[in-house]
């Protein structure tokens, strides 16, 4: 299974601020290694975020996003203790799911 994500979720007044750090090489397929061979593409294709049991983000990610992506957003309608569940799937079929509670 791929490396874990780091999820930070806090309430600032009535707004939830959520920041997600994903560990992923995000290879475009264009980069050449020291021997001159193209490194095969390996990147996150889709991701979803659920908050308090409801899907709030459905993202199509791609090769324009660089290594170890950082994704952040704000939302209303969440509260302390709600679970944030993040899931991603990459082009090789590898996936990762992590969760954290809003603090």
């Amino acid at each position: 299974m791929a490396d874990p994500m780091k999820i930070r979720a806090t309430m600032k007044g009535d707004v939830a601020e959520i920041r997600i750090l994903m560990a992923h090489p995000m290879e475009t397929g264009q980069r050449k290694d020291a021997a001159g061979n193209a490194v095969p593409p390996h990147f996150i294709q889709t991701m979803t975020v659920e908050v308090g049991g409801k899907k709030v983000v459905e993202g199509h990610v791609g090769t324009s996003v660089s290594r170890n992506p950082v994704f952040g957003f704000k939302m209303k309608g969440a509260k302390v203790g709600d679970k944030v569940v993040v899931n991603w799937v990459d082009n090789k079929g590898d996936k990762r799911t992590d969760e954290a509670a809003i603090a």
Binding site: D3, K6, L21, A23, M26, R31, S66, N68
Partner: protein, 287 residues
């Protein structure tokens, strides 16, 4: 040749002739021409700093901290021992809180002044049974690989977040390391006649668009220290202070300092010691 020189010495005649003596400081006039560029530099610096502040809030370095925590706590190596139960970073076995900012320090069991990376490597070798040469063969990260030691340094450094740098300079061995480090920083050699101080010994200089902190002053030293270990966005690599020392010598046109050696430890004692009393914000981020 020799006779000419001795002749010149005896006469103590300043070489006159066709060449006007070059003033050592630039003529005052160019200031007006450079003014617009100086403003551009300040604006650029401001933008870089804004970007950095934003990135610091969610620093990919945290991913390496997490890996490092796992490696610190897991039984590993031929001796199947965890660093958490065997490695003393100066504050007691397994204690990581506040340890990074108190290094380099002298360790009696190793009879050496050691920076954080050197000490953790020492623990991996002495306590876990790893071979030093295996670690030293690939000690630094690249696009495809991050060594365990880098993750461990990041983990340890993160546990000194928001603490004051406190290298124990009053201890005689640490004091001596500082003095030797200071001399190493001043040592000009190699085809370009560079020393560390050539770039890092004066205020307000930069190379291309990279500001050069003056490592001999408290403020400059802190700028140099903050940010290591650091996540470099170019290439997405996690790099340590030990790595940076080597890369500086590369650019100085020197040969390579040996990994986790006295030379590096003494230089780090000098520059980190100069930053004493200032708050370390934890692993940094760089472009």
């Amino acid at each position: 040749m020799k006779q000419n020189l001795i002749g010149a010495l005896c006469a103590i005649v300043i070489m006159g002739g066709a060449f006007a003596q070059t003033p050592k400081k630039p003529v005052a006039k160019p200031a007006a021409q450079t003014a617009p560029a100086v403003e551009a530099k300040d604006a650029a610096t401001i933008e870089f700093e804004k970007f950095r502040a934003e990135m610091e809030d969610s620093n990919p370095a945290e991913l390496f901290e997490m890996k490092g925590e796992e490696q610190w706590k897991t039984k590993r190596g031929p001796k199947n021992v965890a660093l958490a139960e065997s490695c003393d970073l100066g504050l007691g076995i397994g204690k990581v809180q506040g340890a990074y900012v108190k290094m380099p320090r002298y360790f009696a069991d190793a009879d050496a002044v050691m920076d954080a990376e050197r000490r953790i490597v020492w623990c991996m070798v002495e306590k876990q049974g790893f071979k030093f040469d295996d670690i030293a063969k690939k000690p630094f990260a690249n696009a495809n690989f991050t060594p365990d030691i880098t993750n461990l340094v990041t983990y340890v450094a993160s546990h000194s977040r928001n603490m004051k740098i406190a290298v124990p300079l009053k201890e005689p061995k640490v004091r001596e390391a500082w003095e030797i480090g200071k001399e190493i920083a001043a040592y000009r050699a190699g085809p370009y006649d560079f020393s560390c101080n050539t770039c890092h010994g004066t205020d307000g200089k930069r190379i291309r668009m990279q500001n050069l902190p003056n490592l001999s002053t408290p403020a400059g030293a802190m700028k140099g220290v903050q940010g290591w270990p650091g996540y470099r966005m170019t290439g997405g690599v996690m790099l340590t202070h030990q790595w940076r020392m080597g890369d500086c010598f590369r650019q100085q046109r020197f040969p390579e300092p040996k990994y986790a050696s006295d030379a590096v430890a003494y230089l780090l004692t000098y520059m980190i010691g100069n930053a004493n009393g200032q708050v370390y914000k934890g692993p940094g981020i760089k472009r």
